[in-house]
């Protein structure tokens, strides 16, 4: 390890530190005592010294790409992927007055919405070269239009979902390394960046993304587990289309194939983002929240009920449609506009047992995500729920999920066993004691129901108010917390600045990314050259934000890793 430290190009770095001005928006509050972390620079290129000044943060999602400089609070530009981007240069038909994008033929070719996506997670059907081309063009647009930068090599930090398949990542890296010549690209997991952006160390990140919803638990800056469901933005738009198609009069052509699209993706997506909303939790009125730890939830419910009773939503909205056979407008009642959301994220008409693992309704997904966690982690995570992703902008959706999850917790407690027999067992007074003991023996459950519990039968284990066992690491962690108690055990949602801004913070604070890829090394070896994260110096990972220090650069050393992306 010391060898690695010794081989780092320290002199260069210090020069870079001297030269680099405080920079835009730097807050050097703590002044000289702020540890100045070395910035990697390779000896090869003389221009890298200047390029060190600005690190570009790029958040790549399935539908859009956000770019900006590190240290900024928000990205400077956002580029959406779409068919207009995939035209040839010099093809100006979009601007022709008589031109109408022939979406129906594209839809018939199976491209209804996929034109608007950068990649699909199912890499079997993905043209990887095309992914690289799309990224390149989007980046070029972002650089010239929003960042106004020249093509000097700059260090890049990518914020990516940690579930991104290696082939896609590798194609993207290939394309960017060969076309933009960045000296290094660091990869940051988006859920981690979100956690940093929220100011917490542990959280349950509920990413209501485009292709899927991912619930990731992060504990002390490490991703523990993620659960996913295909209920995401794409499904929402498709359900919106279904709603519109149902309302539109049927035409003879479309009857022969029921799978056909009648409205363009652009319009469906537009309507989904503009109008679709989410009904509040239906059972929240009757739900008698017993635990005082959930009191905040009750408040929410009450206010929602007062302000907007579901029964009164009768007004109708007029939605213009241009991409149908002939331009028309549809009358939709306000209640109907909540249907796509209902069908996509909740599907409450079906019993929870009827869902496959990949299509769990979101409340169940979040609940299960929490349930799987160890007790102490769960206690921390449940009071730091971060909603993010495009669909979190659906009005009322976050509140609804939150309410349903708290309802589920209230209903089931943290008992992983469900079913009729369990219910019988519980209701049977003879067996109750045994059952309670069993639950107590269960290592995954709560070990002892706290005495203050409202329900004495052992069903409702208040994990929230548990006194966690002290262990060494915990003590160590506690030491730095300046004696203020951490909120735990209550269900609570926390707002994050967003993954991009979180990454901007991380980079600005000069924390070291686990996966930092050197350009030369990548071009030589590609993804095959990476080692497992465990083989690489792990220290930086363990210390995460707090670390860095003199230890630098897995990139500079021989071993480098793709981090979570290269795990398998």
């Amino acid at each position: 390890m010391s060898a690695v430290a010794g081989s780092t190009p320290l002199p260069h770095r210090t020069v870079a530190n001297i030269r680099s001005p405080p920079g835009a928006g730097h807050h050097h509050q703590s002044g000289p005592s702020t540890p100045i972390r070395p910035i990697p620079s390779n000896f090869g290129s003389p221009s890298s010294l200047r390029a060190d000044e600005e690190i570009l943060i790029i958040e790549i999602g399935t539908r859009k790409l956000q770019v900006g400089f590190s240290g900024d609070a928000a990205p400077r530009g956002c580029v959406w992927f779409g068919p207009h981007q995939q035209r040839r240069v010099g093809d100006f038909r979009d601007w022709q007055t008589d031109y109408r994008h022939d979406w129906s033929s594209a839809a018939a070719g199976g491209l209804w919405g996929s034109h608007h996506e950068l990649w699909q997670y199912d890499v079997r059907g993905v043209d990887l070269g095309l992914v690289g081309d799309k990224i390149e063009r989007a980046l070029r647009e972002a650089f010239t239009k929003y960042l106004l930068i020249d093509s000097r090599p700059r260090r890049l930090v990518w914020v990516l979902p940690s579930s991104l398949p290696i082939p896609v990542l590798s194609a993207a890296l290939d394309s960017v390394f060969s076309r933009f010549q960045p000296p290094t690209i660091s990869l940051l997991s988006s859920s981690l960046a979100l956690v940093v952006g929220a100011g917490v160390r542990s959280a349950l990140v509920v990413d209501l993304g485009w292709s899927e919803t991912v619930v990731t638990s992060v504990y002390e800056y490490r991703e523990l587990e993620s659960k996913r469901s295909i209920r995401g933005g794409r499904m929402l738009v498709e359900h919106t289309h279904k709603l519109l198609a149902k309302k539109l009069p049927e035409t003879p052509e479309q009857t022969d194939s029921k799978d056909q699209y009648v409205v363009s993706f652009e319009e469906c997506s537009d309507i989904a983002t503009r109008l679709v909303w989410c009904k509040p939790h239906p059972r929240s009125a009757s739900g008698q929240l017993s635990s005082d730890s959930l009191a905040t939830v009750q408040e929410h419910d009450e206010s929602e009920l007062e302000a907007s009773p579901t029964s009164r939503r009768t007004g109708s909205l007029t939605v213009p449609l241009r991409s149908w056979l002939s331009p028309t407008s549809l009358e939709l009642s306000f209640g109907e506009l909540a249907e796509p959301c209902e069908d996509t994220f909740f599907d409450s008409q079906y019993s929870p047992t009827s869902f496959d693992d990949h299509e769990l309704p979101l409340p169940l997904l979040v609940y299960r995500g929490l349930l799987q966690l160890p007790v102490d982690v769960r206690a921390l995570c449940m009071s730091r729920i971060i909603f993010t992703g495009g669909c979190s902008n659906v009005l009322g959706l976050r509140g609804r999920i939150f309410d349903e999850v708290s309802h589920l917790i209230q209903e089931r407690g943290w008992d992983p066993v469900q079913g009729k027999r369990v219910g019988q067992l519980r209701s049977n007074p003879k067996l109750r004691r045994r059952g309670a003991r069993q639950a107590g023996d269960d290592p995954t459950g709560v070990t002892s129901p706290s005495g203050e519990g409202e329900e004495q039968d052992g069903v409702w284990h208040d994990a929230a108010n548990m006194v966690p066992e002290m262990d060494l690491i915990d003590e160590q962690l506690q030491r730095g917390t300046d004696r203020r108690p951490r909120v735990q055990g209550t269900l609570r949602a926390v707002e994050s600045l967003g993954a991009w801004s979180g990454a901007s913070l991380v980079t600005h604070l000069k924390a070291q990314a686990i996966a930092t890829i050197d350009r030369d090394v990548w071009l030589q070896h590609g993804a095959a050259g990476s080692s497992k994260p465990s083989d690489v110096d792990h220290k930086t990972q363990r210390q995460s934000l707090g670390a860095g220090g003199l230890m630098r650069g897995s990139a500079a050393g021989s071993a480098w890793t793709l981090g979570v992306w290269g795990a398998n």
Partner: protein
Amino acid sequence: MAALTPYTYIQCPCSDLSTLGRTSDPKSPRADEADDDDDDRTFDPRAPRSNYSLYPLEYLLYCEDCHQIRCPRCVSDEIVTYYCPNCLFEVPSSNLKSEGNRCTRSCFQCPICIGPLAVTSVETKPDPSLLAAPDNTAAPHSGPYALTCSYCSWTSTEAGIKFDKPNGIHAQLAKLRNGGLTRLTAKERKERRKDPSHRFAPAAERDHERSALDDKLNLETQFANLKSFYQSQLADPNASDSGLAALSDLGFSSPTSLSRIMSIYTGGSLHDKKAKLRVGAMREALDTDEGLQLADLDESAAIAQLQCEGYDGTASTSQLSDQPPNLGEAHLHGRGRFISDLRPIPYLLRTKRSKRCPVCRHIISKPEAKVQTTRFRIRLVAGSYIPSMAIRPLSLSGGSSGTSASGSAGIPGALLDPLRPAHYLLTFTNPIFESIKVTLGAPAKTPGRFASKVTVLCPEFDIDANTDVWDEALKDPGGGGGGGGELRDRERERERERRRRKGEEGRNMSSNNNQLEVGKIWERGRNWVSIVVEVVPASLRLDHGAGEQPLREDDDVLEIPMFVRIEWEAEAGGDEVGAVIGRDREARERRELAYWCVLGLGRIRV
């Protein structure tokens, strides 16, 4: 279907690897393609990837030193000037860092229709008077001001934004954070944010902080709070660890080698010590002052607003994406969705860029630095180095030719009849002062779903050098060689005219030309050559039984991939051409340039 003018696209050789992409035809077997050698693989213009590598000739530059085409993807940019496209004011690059990428003067775009906004004074509140306001002769310097769009007559008063002064709008707008809401709260919020005693209050004001916990942070404040929080957290342990701080100080003031040596010998142990200190040093943010923001999940107000305002009250996706990131927003989820949330968009700055060849670093394009001029100091466009290709349909007159070309084939933009041969005249014009040898290669069948047959009747020919027009005219006895030298332009015009006429005559007179003959040039001029390409368009009829996909956009366009190879002899080092032809031939070197291009001929009748 819209008529299609024939076009030519050139694939920059820098993206040769793109031929590895998948073909446009999903059913075409990849196996046999893999067998082929790299050289044999045809470029498929329909493949989705080829859209990224094809450029019209006008977009391409040329490096004189590398003798290679340079496309926008394979040049490196350098920025000459930053300027605002609206006020054409040059922005110094230092401003760019601090002020961002948008114009900070009074240039704004309408958030509804992106038209330019003008500052007008608001006499009375209702909007109709604003419409009448533009001819304001009456006291323009009074009262509050608003931004109005002259195209869609949106005014910033609709978003609740009014200005006290008619200038410095950008600075004023930045203070009006809550665009859609009343000005009062905006001010209030601003005041609160500005109040330093509130933010950095010591622990004495605990109760005050408690109340601030449910106060909403906006994006900017939360970021700033988080940043200072993290920085203080990171700094704390280091303060106690004086040894390390001293070491890093050393790095500044002393020779760099010393610090490196220090770190070699002491780095490991020091680091471990530090690491131990660091573990657990950080805690999480606990309140708003540290950047923690609890989520407000109650969105019933917004839902009610949505119900009340309906579709027209919401902003469209494109309107929202045009909005600059508003740091004054409460938080990300509160990002505006209603029309009333939209704010005037300050113009994005633009750049003038000079381009360099990435290989030899020579400048190949350099614009004039002044914003107002559109001239270039250096501009090596590819059009003056590689032959241009013009395509025009050729109608063979009458039935003298064996092929039964339909009459409509000669009309530009007419639809091609499937399975019926059509002819196109391909005119190559040589821009350089050397005669060039052109070799064409085209697949017999176009790749993709619908394979049309292609025959290039004359795939190999020479084009004469682009000599002075005047020389040619003097040489020609039939031309108007006696014309005044001062009327050079008109002369050139006439020359062109004459040539064309002559060409037509030539075709009519000699029966030889009227026939399509393999291996023969159709027509030849001073620095151009026309050849004929025969195509048999494929039938676009679909076999419905085979589960064929329906036609996609542009599937009916007949596109021919063509490999063009140009060879010429040039001076080994010099740029001057023409003076020393034939004198020392050994000093000349052979050059060649080869690239794929795509010829779009026309649409096939469905």
